[in-house]
């Protein structure tokens, strides 16, 4: 900004000089105009007398008395050393012409003066901006060249999934993808994600199918949570019943809300940060996907931090390779991109007395539970391995959760939220001992209100999905109840 400041000063100096010159010319022109006026007057009265007694100047210092004769004969300079003998009246005409000419010039000069004034004004503004005195803030957004030419297309895809409920069938997913491909968004971070997401979706589908079967066998109680979480964002949740669809949709959704949220967060952060003293206050916008740090209360004052989705994807891929084994690496599970991911990290099945007991809510601290540890990595690793993430249904809203958790009584089966497919799991700092793998046979039909900036479309569609979801819930509830009964 210093350079521009310098420029401003230079410009100002130049403009000032220009102004001075301009003033001179204006003044001279004005003088000329006045002179002509006086001359005109003189010519009016000159022919009145045949001769005048005048004092004739003799050189610079002396005068001589003399007479002015031939008062009507004037030798007028026409210009360029041309003269013409005219009468007084004709001379007056000539004067009239010249006056018009001069006035025209004066007008032109005043116009240029105005322009200069405007320029000076701009320069002053610029100066104040550069000096950081004004209320001007420079907003810059560095557009990163999309990593691939398909970035825009990818971005589109990212947006679209959020707009539709997860309940959509695979067909819908495909449609969404197609639609997304057409969109153009400025968020380039999604492009890579989508390609991975597709793989991801594939993996998730297969995994979820397997897990569903397992979960149904294990019987977990999640009816309450599921019912309560109906309000949660559907985009983030996957219903076990719609495992395939949900799974396929989830990756894209998860990517979207995250990506949407991240830029927003980034911007905000940057806005706050970008107040430079010397330079123009600049707000740098950047659409970056930064590691999303979210803290989830996974238990006794434990918080889970999850990182980017990419890790999740890798995890999922790895998981696929592992063939849905329990060997999820700890760190891999730390990728939380969607609210649903939270449930992966949070164990909804606590191990009590050697038996897996579904946990009511991830928000509830489990001080008494051994399985719930705060930031104890040792046990968490073990627990994770034991844990089986069956279903998906994550309620994105922690707030919602807290509300719902309150409603859950001890009698109710602890709400076990089916965890995301193990592939997404990452060990979170807290340790949760699961005795039973997530019995999340119940598809998480609850739709948590999207915590991320919501696209209106999404909400509408989520509402639509909410309608569809409840239908399935009853079935699952029954299963859970059956499982619960069995467990009891």
């Amino acid at each position: 900004m210093a350079a521009s400041g310098q420029l401003n000063i230079d410009d100002l100096a130049g403009v000032v000089r220009l102004r001075e010159e301009h003033k001179k010319v204006t003044v001279d022109t004005k003088k000329l105009s006045d002179d002509y006026e006086a001359l005109n007057e003189r010519l009016e009265t000159l022919p009145d007398q045949l001769s005048y007694d005048v004092m004739v100047p003799f050189g610079p210092l002396a005068f001589m008395p003399g007479k002015l004769v031939h008062t009507n004969e004037l030798t007028v300079l026409l210009g360029d050393n041309w003269f013409a003998k005219c009468s007084a009246k004709q001379a007056q005409k000539i004067i009239g012409h010249r006056m018009e000419h001069v006035k025209g010039e004066l007008d032109a000069l005043s116009k240029t003066l105005k322009n200069f004034e405007a320029r000076v004004g701009f320069a002053k503004d610029l100066e104040s901006i550069s000096a950081n005195q004004g209320d001007y803030v420079d907003i810059r957004e560095d557009m990163k060249c999309s990593d691939t030419p398909t970035t825009k297309v990818r971005q589109r895809i990212a947006h679209k999934p959020n707009s539709k409920p997860k309940l959509d069938a695979i067909l819908d997913v495909k449609e969404e993808d197609e639609e997304i491909d057409e969109d153009d968004t400025a968020e380039g971070s999604r492009k890579g994600i989508l390609s991975e997401e597709e793989l991801w979706a594939r993996l998730d589908e297969l995994e979820k199918l397997e897990k569903l079967e397992e979960e149904q066998d294990r019987l977990s109680d999640n009816p309450d949570i599921n019912g309560e979480d109906t309000s949660s964002s559907s985009s983030e949740e996957e219903k076990e019943g719609e495992a395939v669809n949900g799974v396929s949709l989830k990756p894209s959704w998860s990517s979207v809300p995250n990506s949407i949220a991240l830029p927003v967060i980034d911007r905000k952060e940057e806005e706050d940060e970008e107040k430079e003293g010397d330079c123009l206050p600049t707000i740098f916008f950047s659409h970056t996907v930064e590691p999303k740090k979210v803290r989830i209360n996974t238990g006794k004052n434990t918080t889970l931090k999850f990182s980017e989705r990419k890790e999740q994807k890798e995890h999922i891929k790895r998981k696929k390779k592992n063939g849905h084994t329990n060997g999820h690496s700890h760190h891999e599970l730390h990728k939380i991109t969607t609210p649903a991911d939270i449930y992966r990290y949070v164990s909804f099945v606590d191990v009590r007395n050697g038996e897996p007991v579904p946990r009511k809510s991830i928000l509830k601290s489990r001080s008494r539970e051994n399985s719930v540890c705060s930031d104890t990595s040792e046990s968490s690793t073990a627990d994770f391995e034991e844990r089986r993430v069956m279903g998906r249904s994550f309620s994105h809203d922690e707030a919602t959760y807290s509300d719902t958790s309150d409603g859950i009584t001890e009698e109710d089966s602890p709400t076990t939220i089916p965890l995301h497919p193990p592939s997404r799991f990452e060990a979170f700092s807290g340790t949760v001992i699961e005795k039973d793998p997530m019995p999340s046979a119940v598809p998480h039909l609850t739709i948590a209100p999207p915590a991320l900036p919501t696209i209106p479309e999404r909400k509408q569609e989520e509402v639509a999905t909410d309608v569809a979801l409840p239908q399935q819930i009853p079935k699952k509830v029954s299963k859970f109840k059956a499982a619960r009964l069995q467990q009891k």
């Binding site: 030798t75 026409l78 210009g79 360029d80 041309w82 003269f83 013409a84 003998k85 009468s87």
Partner: protein
């Protein structure tokens, strides 16, 4: 090496300044012609307005020489054409000069870069 470049640089700079002077000269000449143009236009108009009753004089040095009005008109027109032609010529000249000066400027920039590099090398060596 650096000295050589320095000499070259100086030489080029001089050439450039000379060019700039030429440019400014032609600029001022052109401006003069412009004023003459306007003046002659006015004269032409005035002469057209005059009728045959009044005489036309031309100032040649300290002498006012009587002129025929028609002759005067013709002379003025010719002068006008001449001035226009001159202006055209000067414009062409100005263009060429500006082009040359631009080229010279670029050359100077490149030479300067070389010079700096050489200086850097010299400093490095020393």
């Amino acid at each position: 090496m650096a000295e050589l470049i320095q000499k070259k640089l100086k030489f080029e700079v001089e050439k450039y300044t000379q060019m700039q002077k030429d440019v400014s000269k032609s600029m001022s000449a052109r401006q003069k012609l412009e004023t003459q143009l306007t003046e002659n236009n006015i004269v032409k108009e005035e002469l057209d307005l005059l009728d045959s009753t009044n005489t036309v004089y031309k100032l040649i040095g300290p002498v006012l020489v009587k002129q025929d009005p028609d002759e005067a008109k013709a002379t003025v027109s010719k002068r006008l054409d001449y001035i226009n032609g001159e202006i055209q010529r000067y414009e062409m000249l100005l263009k060429d000069l500006e082009k040359k000066s631009d080229q010279q400027r670029e050359l100077l920039a490149s030479l300067q870069q070389e010079f700096q590099k050489a200086q850097g090398l010299a400093v490095g060596k020393a």
